[in-house]
Amino acid sequence: MRRAGVAWCFVAPALLVIAVFFFVPVLAALALSLTDFDIYALADRRNLRLVGLGNYAQLLQTPLFWQAFGNTLYFVIVGVPLSIAVSFGAALLLHSPLVRFRGFYRTALFAPVVTTLVAVAVVWRYLFNPVNGWLNYALGRVGIPPVDWLGDPHWAMPAIIVFAVWKNFGYNMVILLAGLQSIPPPLYEAAQVDGASAWRQFRHITLPMLAPIVAMVNILTVAGYLQLFAEPYVMTQGGPMQSTVSVLYFMYEEGFKWWNLGSASAVAFILFLFIFAVTALQLRLSRWQYAP
């Protein structure tokens, strides 16, 4: 009896913080999304009215919301496979028994992950500069004409994807490397005895053994990439021609620039439901695929 009381003393502070500052706001977001909470309600709560699903209906008729959604999907559909491919390639290289200075390379490739997103986004904005940025300069040396990376609506999102892959690939690389290292060596030894080529070993041992980890990495990366915000905020401010407005960027402007807090909550909830649905779908697919 006394022990249970003590246990509660240990968990209560943390649970209280999480309940009050996480669970309550999430539930309140749902409630708020059904109201017309705006700058007038901010000044005087009596201006607050219930509008049911009005915010949601309104959003579905807002072209910019759809564009933000499309931009975010573009970022995820191109960015995630690219990022995981780079992570996987780097992990395979690092895992090779021929590597010298493995620790050094791992640290170097991982370094962008720990850097401050805003700071390195500022750096890349200058690297992407169409007139005197290093990227165009380097491309010019091999005969590729300059590209207005962040100023051209067709190139701004690809530029952000390149930046995001550079910033993030080290994270999944480390997880995939741990996965590679956990494959029991006897599997490869047996295959070598049977005379299997390196490619066949990769195809029939490495890939199947790593598949569950790749599936998990994929789910986490998709969920993370759907939360795109700081990159467009710092590098493009959503432009040019709103080609890099993401769902969260849209939510931020809707809520904290125009103070349409009811509508912003609806945006947040739609994003959450979408992330939830995509995660559930991927979990189901991966279970179906790797079921014994």
């Binding site: 249970a4 003590v6 943390a14 500052f21 170097a108 969920a223 947040a268």
Partner: protein, 272 residues
């Protein structure tokens, strides 16, 4: 056959590492150039003459000294408080018995899929009501505990042998004493891991401080840097100095403690 393969693997890694590090090296190099030097038609790689002019400018005129202070104070406060709360809770979820423990923990795990941004608008209104918007408290209070932190500590604490705790109890030690003198030392490595995770995460965090802090005097480094970069678009060298100032501390912490960081990353990602 072996020699060319080794050459290829090491060559590819060297190239990949060079490309990965290049933007960071360029940032450092340009931050030491004289104003205007980096925007020459043929952009130079190294400064003609090393100068700290941009850094003095940051502190003297751009007010970044105050932002450094804000970032240091907030990161320290969040890290210490959340360690205290998360370690206590994570230990209790692993080793102490109370009604509904496992159900509660499962609920927390399910909630991990909810992105923090979902509740940001109501959280802002709540903190405004409490008078915490535009103050350190607005950043610290919601970050005092995290589901991820509790989870990380619990997974590690599961490996503490129950016999050890029972023996201490038989010796008449109080639960608080057991926590302080037996549990915390055993949790040492995971505490360091969580401390590194939390401090880097808090230092680098952008969206929430951007929302909750309005006065320039309270801006953290990322928020101040983002705002500075909108005003000083042309000042490449100044902006690079600001980027170095913001990101160098976290890079150093990572280099010193990367063993713990990587361990936590791998441990935390196998939660499914």
């Amino acid at each position: 056959m072996r020699w060319p393969a080794g050459f290829l693997v090491n060559g590819l890694l060297l190239g990949a590492a060079a490309v990965t590090i290049a933007p960071l090296a360029w940032m450092l190099s340009v931050s030491l150039m004289a104003p205007g030097e980096a925007t020459a038609p043929t952009p130079p790689l190294l400064p003609a003459r090393l100068t700290l002019e941009n850094y003095t400018e940051l502190f003297a005129r751009a007010g970044m000294g105050r932002s450094v202070l804000n970032s240091v104070v907030l990161t320290t406060a969040v890290t210490l408080l959340s360690l205290l709360f998360n370690v206590a809770a994570g230990y209790a979820f692993a080793k102490l018995r109370f009604a509904g423990r496992d159900r509660l923990f499962r609920l927390l795990l399910v909630a991990l899929v909810i992105p923090a941004q979902v509740g940001m608008v109501p959280l802002f209104l709540m903190l405004k009501h409490l008078g915490l918007v535009n103050s350190y408290g607005g950043v610290i209070v919601p970050a005092m505990a995290s589901i991820f932190g509790i989870f990380l500590v619990r997974q590690y604490a599961l490996s503490i042998p129950d016999d050890l705790l029972e023996a201490a109890r038989l010796d008449g030690a109080s639960e608080l004493r057991i926590f302080r003198s037996v549990v915390v030392p055993l949790l040492g490595p995971i505490i360091v891991t969580l401390a590194v995770f939390t401090s880097l995460g808090t230092w680098n965090d952008f969206m929430w401080p951007l929302i909750v802090l309005n006065d320039r005097e309270l801006y953290t480094l990322p928020v101040a840097l983002a705002s500075l970069s909108r005003e000083h678009v042309q000042d490449t060298e100044l902006m690079m100095a600001g980027s170095v100032l913001t990101t160098l501390p976290v890079l150093l912490v990572f280099l010193l403690l990367q063993r713990f960081y990587i361990q936590g990353l791998v441990l935390g990602s196998v939660k499914e």
